[in-house]
Symmetry: C2
């Protein structure tokens, strides 16, 4: 038995809801296991009846059936065990138990005492609308691709998209710092091209380069991009860590909207019986980590997301979470001009409509196609 | 149609094997989709018959059945599209397609031209054995826990484990920088305790603190730990990004063995039909990212890994990969003294035996229990 321990903790706790697959007995055992696995990871019977047991152990606050062979356990944890740091918060929520089958993290509920450690999105929906001076329609976004095009061609595509009135022009998330498309040269040329179009049209289009890169390079690339005239940055937190995105959001030298790409995060959401819900991953966790726009695969595109999953992402982007701003959902993945009406019907005005390759299907005049996109959305 | 493009690429390609679930027609369609989704993400029919099509597109090099409703496609990619950077390499391997069901990344085969961009493990099995001067037996590891213990108690546990001859004493991966266990104080006290034991026994036990933390703090914590006398560092790449671990391995100021914890990575391996194989994730990718010891749940413990999965991890830690050193598997997750014989029978000598909480079950004298552990393994 360990020595008796007295801890200085506030008593404040945050809650995580898990869907547990199995019989009631199995689900109850899973809930009890989570309380230990996510905290002390130690034989519970060796811990005396002290403050570790009273405060550090997870606690099942609620347990109820969700459906056949499926239960929800709401488990609370002391805010102090997160160290008020994002990686350790993620670890408490779903670290070790990510390795166990039949456990899906559904949602989190975090009190202000913990939430205040996370500034979250700098812009959010309102801030991005203010920056773009667009208040009454969905925002339009497109991407610079395919990978392999010379920089002058990418810059020309950026120019045409901006001339046509696309609000946000992002790098393809696979463009990083390839020899055939070096980061600095690409960013300078594309930022120039968008600035030229903005001057000509009195526009406010933002160029959003991809700053995903090795460890400390993300912030270096973002600072370079800002200097070069970029209007936002794109990053894939699955590739560089959630906290690297949070740093971009917090850095006072940067202050640019952040578009978040879901690359490498799919394993969390592919199964209904495991991982993290669409709502929590794309909505709640990305807001904690500072995204202003969250890109995800729309239903009915190249990916297998359902309407219900997409609707739940939207909920996660706007559910009240203390001071954390609401952020934009950006459904994408093979979207087309033909689907704009349907997307606006489904998502309403508070959406970033991201159409990539399809804009190139409508003849050679990309600016004219972009203008059609813009006018169509403006007229909806 | 896009303008014709000529690229300066070497023609060198690397290969990724995917298991595809479905009928043969479905699997072939998935393979064709991966070639586009992981590279140009653009309507293929709009790309002219140029260098983008010839080089940037993924290419199906082989396709064959694996079993009922299951096929393997081996797809090659131009080395240049990775930008020779780890996050983008991961993106090409499994970025967007992580979001699609029925695709499992099985293994990678990377030519030297790309591999040379990744120094990999600094120590590996041979280097860690040399450091510890242990050449003829498995290495022993234990953990400082449970979370919530005062630092002086954790330091006392470290002292006793070191007195008993445990080779590697790591922080619990949930100990980061909590108010009740601040990083700097914990590391200083535990490093002192282990140094004292080493002086008394003429031992070489390494204290391995957890440096997982927000963005740039991982490297700062690692440098502090080295200064304070730590003999290695523990990090969870799932929480901070694979490349952050790679930076720890590369940093010439650090030069400490790296223990890698699988927290938050479980979603990749829980399903047979999705994600990344145990072999590739815990073996190949962790070596690319610089781990010297990879911790994973042993079969028959608190987790659901099978014997076959554990054996495949071992294969991944030692399969020839150019200059990348072989690394140690460290099966754990509820291991006990009683299972040491079985684990050595299964894993052989090239293993780190990680026993945490169970060492506390055998009476109050932790040093004596540790000594039993050591003698037992030495005598096997």
């Amino acid at each position: 038995m360990l020595p008796f321990t007295r801890l200085s903790v506030s008593g404040e706790r945050f809650c995580v809801a898990y869907r547990l697959v199995g019989t009631e007995a199995e689900a109850r055992a899973k809930a009890a296991d989570i309380c230990v696995e996510q905290t002390i990871e130690f034989p519970a019977e060796l811990v005396p009846d002290d403050d570790i047991r009273a405060h550090i152990f997870g606690r099942v606050e609620d347990f109820h059936p969700l459906g056949e062979n499926s239960y929800q356990a709401i488990i609370s944890y002391a805010v102090e065990i997160t160290a008020f740091e994002l990686p350790q918060l993620l670890n408490v929520i779903f670290g070790n138990i990510s390795l166990k089958p039949g456990i899906r993290m559904e949602w989190i509920d975090i009190p202000d005492e913990l939430l205040k450690a996370f500034p979250g999105p700098s812009f959010g929906r309102a801030g991005l609308r203010e920056l773009l001076q667009i208040h009454n329609r969905p925002l339009l976004c497109s991407a610079l691709k395919p990978m392999g095009l010379p920089i002058e061609v990418l810059a020309d595509i950026a120019y045409r998209l901006a001339r046509g009135g696309v609000d946000l022009i992002k790098d393809d998330h696979g463009l990083t710092n390839q020899g055939f498309s070096p980061f600095k040269e690409r960013v300078e040329r594309c930022a120039e091209a968008v600035a030229k179009a903005n001057r000509e049209t009195d526009g406010r289009t933002l160029y959003v380069p991809n700053v995903t890169g090795p460890a400390e390079h993300a912030i270096k690339r973002a600072l370079f991009a800002k200097e070069a005239g970029a209007g936002g940055v794109l990053i894939s937190p699955g590739l560089v860590g959630f906290d690297t995105m949070a740093r971009l959001a917090e850095d006072p030298r940067l202050k640019l909207p952040i578009l978040c790409h879901p690359a490498f995060l799919g394993a969390f959401i592919v199964s209904q019986d495991h991982g993290v819900s669409h709502y929590a991953l794309f909505g709640q966790l990305m807001r904690l980590a500072g995204a202003d726009v969250i890109i995800f695969p729309n239903y009915g595109g190249r990916f297998a997301f359902t309407k219900e999953e997409c609707a739940s992402i939207v909920k996660g982007t706007q559910v009240p979470m203390g001071h954390l701003k609401s952020i934009f959902p950006a459904p994408s993945g093979g979207m087309s001009l033909e689907r704009v009406q349907e997307m606006v019907d489904f998502y309403g005005q508070e959406v970033v409509l991201l159409i990539g390759g399809d804009l190139h299907r409508h003849g050679r005049d990309l600016a004219a196609t972009s203008e059609r996109f813009r006018k169509f959305v403006g007229a909806l």
